[in-house]
């Protein structure tokens, strides 16, 4: 089934069965390898991308469900609206990830970053509990959770500076 998909600011045409998970359209039809396969059941979060700015698990989202929505993958994240001058090509979440040297093996990190970016869009000043609840859909087998939390707090602070410390 030939269909148009709006992705990372462009429109691409793909021809796949309508039940093909978005993950495999992204990886195999469009050749974008930054989004990862971890479980195929929406349990691990490695496949997290944005649909109209909100985090979804692309491994359980059939291409038919995407419709005319705008898909953003890790490769397209930097081009998402960046509120601060001088960020160049990076989203503040990515900048925080790099500044805090978050990744270990790195396999889960695209998904982590996409989940974190959507959290900060939803809740610019999340509490630690809100961070943990939102991010609990993303598994990290290397255990970078403490570093992820630090990076999210730093990115949040940069995007919306806080007067009081984060609860």
């Amino acid at each position: 089934m030939a269909t148009d998909i709006r992705i990372n600011g462009t429109v691409k045409q793909v021809d796949v069965p309508s039940d093909t998970p978005l993950l495999w359209v992204i990886r195999e039809e469009l050749g974008l390898k930054g989004t990862k396969f971890g479980c195929g059941m929406g349990l691990c979060g490695a496949c997290t991308v944005h649909l109209d700015g909100a985090a979804i698990r692309s491994c359980i989202t059939p291409i038919a469900a995407v419709g005319s929505g705008e898909v953003t993958t890790i490769e397209g994240l930097p081009q998402a609206p960046v509120p601060h001058e001088g960020d160049g090509e990076l989203h503040p979440v990515q900048a925080a990830w790099i500044a805090n040297s978050v990744p270990q093996c790195g396999y889960c990190q695209s998904g982590q970053i996409m989940a974190a970016a959507s959290l900060l869009k939803e809740k610019p000043q999340p509490t630690k509990d809100e961070i943990r609840a939102h991010m609990s859909g993303n598994i990290c087998r290397c255990g970078t959770y403490q570093a992820i939390e630090r990076a999210i707090l730093q990115a949040a602070d940069r995007l919306s500076p806080r007067k009081e410390p984060t609860p």
């Binding site: 990862k36 990744p103 790195g106 970053i113 961070i131 991010m135 598994i139 087998r141 255990g143 570093a147």
Partner: protein, 751 residues
């Protein structure tokens, strides 16, 4: 445009506690790890100057480092670059890191192979990498001295530039000097003193953090070349099941299916253009596949437990025998006998296994041509190559393995089964394109080589003075070494030695080494006791077992530190004090134990409902002590904090040491809470993360890690944080509930 030194300085350092970070990239093509992008050591195009097998400097002053180990999150890429850069005097973030090919020049000399594992990369590499940097720098200085007709003593370096001390404007880049320098001899080099270091001992951020934060890192799953087909393999449902047949007509008209082939290992490979097609087709085909299971493994976990318990009651091979345990135990008044049960565990690397193989028949037209070209990831690239060559009956130079980043290792990628499978599929298919065998999560969960299940019989006694009077450990489990020794033999032996001889040697090695890793962490206990027995009772089963983060220590850390806690309780002693009085003052376990007790406020009262447990364990030459703060509500266990003190000798990168302790704690907690692989009539029950849960961020305790200041030789940190963790938590559970946890995981219930 490449990333300049000025740009690097714009990053806040972690030591600087970076708040707002101002980053300006001209273009996101940063260097810092080409390896992250799947780059291998390139063939020499003549422009670069080689300084040994690890280092090449190009005229434009780029520095290429060939990484001899693999990066799987443990940080060896960054540490290795740091060691080199310290002596070379070059910024770590600007080094282009390439992956080593299969070549003995890149061996881990401790193992005489290119293995990455055993928390050994720094132990083995820290001198040789520093020497590589120092020798290159010495040559560069000589070349400059020659060029400017000055003494070497008049020169110094800074970040890739040689300059005259008295007149720093007189300078030359390494790149400009490299060609001449490579021809000079370095002479004897003296490495810097440990207190002279600029990078070593500091929190050098991970060199591969850029690509890994931008989705650019290339893993095995990403490495298949354009034009590759994808195969999904239907594997025998139980070990020993033999393929009888299948009904290919179910796939008639299914889009994209190219071929269906049988493999020598009794699998059925469905080959398609894309993964989803292959996966869908395989699911359609699977119900038609028929297996012969007469001689197959068909046991369930309940039967295995019976078997293991029976075996644990039988005498095993003695690996340590001090004094007279039998008599001391028999005559003791205060004694305990306790049987511990630990389950099979999956590695569950987040990246499921995969390998791509382009197979070409040996041809007279191209006698030196490759027969198998492979793209994958491996902790043992040379061993994988040997296996493939042996399976194909060709010489090793006909096999080329492109190694990539690992999306998690934990010991899983020490077994090259997924690589051999892909070669077999490609050979059976005889299509002139690369074929990628992609594992699903279910495939991965059910076809892992598990951390062995174990039943450990523990016996011990204390005397009137509350001191240990006897101690007995017997582990009944499968032997990992018996399964891996043949592969070691194959890799070590030159290929001209007849296969039969190699196999005999491998089997012999297997027998000799059978108990070797099983008893690690038990055999070497230093708790002072006159009567100690340590035995291994080998159980032979056709189940694949393998190296799982900390290996034998993953069982023995738990068992030893839980049982010593039981003996402390028997002696009515404080668990920390009991351990401490049985350890010599100069035992490095004592120091970490003392410090963690202090750090965790062992003597201080805790909030209501929170209880503390302590454990100490030495593994891979490093020493770790932990205290866990835990509360228990019914059967719900909450770990609030884990304090962790590590002595790993001199520290190369404290950031990475802390990260590895945190990593091991999280990995260990996952297993402790709910990790178990069980069998139902031979089939693995678990399939994905819903029935093999792993720790998530909202379950992660606060982890407080402290590193001991030490001048001992550097030792590893990839695994040592794991062994004491389970006991620290369960000892706290005992304090909270009076219930001793002897059966894991906790999800089996506290009783």
């Amino acid at each position: 445009m490449t990333f300049t030194r000025r740009d690097v300085l714009k990053f806040s350092s972690i030591a600087g506690g970076g708040m707002a970070v101002s980053l300006i990239f001209q273009d996101v093509d940063v260097i810092g790890s080409l390896l992250a992008r799947g780059q291998e050591a390139r063939a020499d195009d003549g422009s670069g100057a080689d300084f040994g097998p690890f280092l090449r400097i190009l005229p434009d002053n780029s520095v290429e480092f060939v990484l001899d180990r693999v990066e799987m999150g443990q940080g060896t890429l960054t540490s290795s670059v740091t060691l080199l850069c310290e002596e070379l005097d070059f910024p770590p973030d600007e080094v282009k890191v390439l992956q080593a090919p299969v070549d003995s020049a890149y061996n881990n000399t401790l193992y005489r192979s290119q293995m990455t594992g055993g928390s050994s990369s720094i132990v083995e590499g820290h001198v040789k990498l520093r020497e590589a940097g120092a020798e290159a720098r010495a040559r560069l200085l000589k070349a400059a001295a020659e060029q400017w007709k000055v003494d070497v003593a008049a020169l110094d370096t800074r970040d890739g530039v040689v300059f005259v001390k008295a007149d720093p404007s007189q300078e030359a880049t390494y790149g400009a000097l490299a060609a001449r320098a490579a021809d000079l001899s370095p002479g004897r080099v003296k490495l810097k003193e440990w207190d002279q270091h600029r990078f070593i001992g500091t929190e050098v951020p991970r060199v591969d953090r850029f690509d890994k934060s931008m989705g650019k890192a290339v893993y095995s799953i990403d490495a298949a070349p354009p034009g590759s087909l994808v195969a999904v393999l239907i594997r025998p449902p139980v070990p020993g099941a033999v393929l009888e047949g299948y009904d290919e007509s179910t796939l008639q008209g299914v889009t994209g299916v190219q071929k269906v082939v049988r493999t020598p290992a009794s699998g059925v490979a469905v080959i398609a253009e894309k993964y989803w097609q292959a996966s869908t087709a395989a699911r359609a085909l699977a119900p038609t596949v028929r297996w012969k299971s007469e001689n197959a493994f068909q046991k369930s976990t309940s039967q295995l437990l019976e078997l293991f318990h029976k075996e644990a009651e039988q005498e095993g091979d003695s690996v340590r025998s001090d004094g007279n345990f039998a008599k001391a135990y028999r005559t003791a008044e205060k004694k305990i006998l306790a049987d511990y049960e630990l389950p099979y565990l999956a590695h569950a690397t987040l990246e499921p296994q995969s390998a791509t193989c382009l197979y070409r028949e040996e041809s007279r037209d191209e006698p030196n041509g490759l027969v198998a070209e492979i793209w994958s990831c491996s902790q043992v690239p040379d061993s994988a190559t040997s296996f493939v060559a042996d399976a194909l009956g060709v010489s090793r130079d006909k096999v080329l393995l492109h190694n990539h980043l690992l999306g998690g290792g934990f010991g899983r990628r020490l077994r090259p089964d997924y690589i051999i499978e892909a070669v077999e599929v490609a050979r059976a298919a005889r299509l002139a394109v690369p074929i990628m065998v992609q594992w699903s999560r279910e495939d991965d969960m059910k076809n892992d080589d598990y951390r062995p299940m174990a039943v450990c019989r523990m016996m011990g006694s204390v005397d009137e003075q509350g001191k240990l009077s006897s101690f007995f450990y017997r582990c009944a489990a499968q032997s990992i070494m018996r399964q891996f020794a043949p592969g070691f033999a194959l890799n070590l032996m030159p290929s001209w030695i007849p296969g039969g001889v190699t196999r005999f040697l491998g089997d012999s090695m297997g027998s000799l080494m059978a108990g070797m890793v099983a008893v690690e962490g038990a055999k070497d206990t230093t708790y002072q006791c006159a009567n100690v027995e340590v035995e291994f009772r080998e159980i032979e089963l056709p189940l694949r077992v393998g190296f799982w983060r900390s290996v034998g220590h993953s069982i023995n850390g738990f068992v030893m530190e839980s049982f010593i806690d039981e003996l402390a309780h028997l002696a009515s002693a404080d668990p920390y004090q009991f351990r401490r009085k049985h350890l010599k003052d100069d035992d490095r376990r004592s120091a970490v134990l003392d410090r963690v007790a202090q750090l965790a406020g062992w003597e201080q009262p805790l909030p209501a409902g929170v209880h503390a447990g302590i454990a100490v364990h030495k593994s891979f030459e490093s020493y770790v002590a932990q205290v866990a703060h835990v509360s228990v509500d019914g059967s719900a266990v909450k770990v609030h904090k884990v304090f962790c003190v590590v002595d790993c000798g001199r520290v190369i990168n404290p950031l990475i040491v802390r990260e590895q302790m945190e990593s091991s704690i999280v990995y260990g907690l996952s297993a402790l809470f709910a990790g178990e692989i069980t069998f139902d009539k031979g089939q693995v029950v678990q399939s994905n993360f819903h029935d093999y849960p792993v720790l998530r961020m909202n379950e992660c305790p606060e982890m407080i890690v402290e590193i001991v200041d030490s001048s001992e030789e550097p030792t590893g940190v990839g695994e040592p944080g794991l062994p004491p963790l389970g006991a620290a938590v369960c000892n706290a559970i005992f304090r909270a509930t009076g219930k001793r946890v002897r059966k894991l995981p906790l999800s089996r219930g506290l009783s």
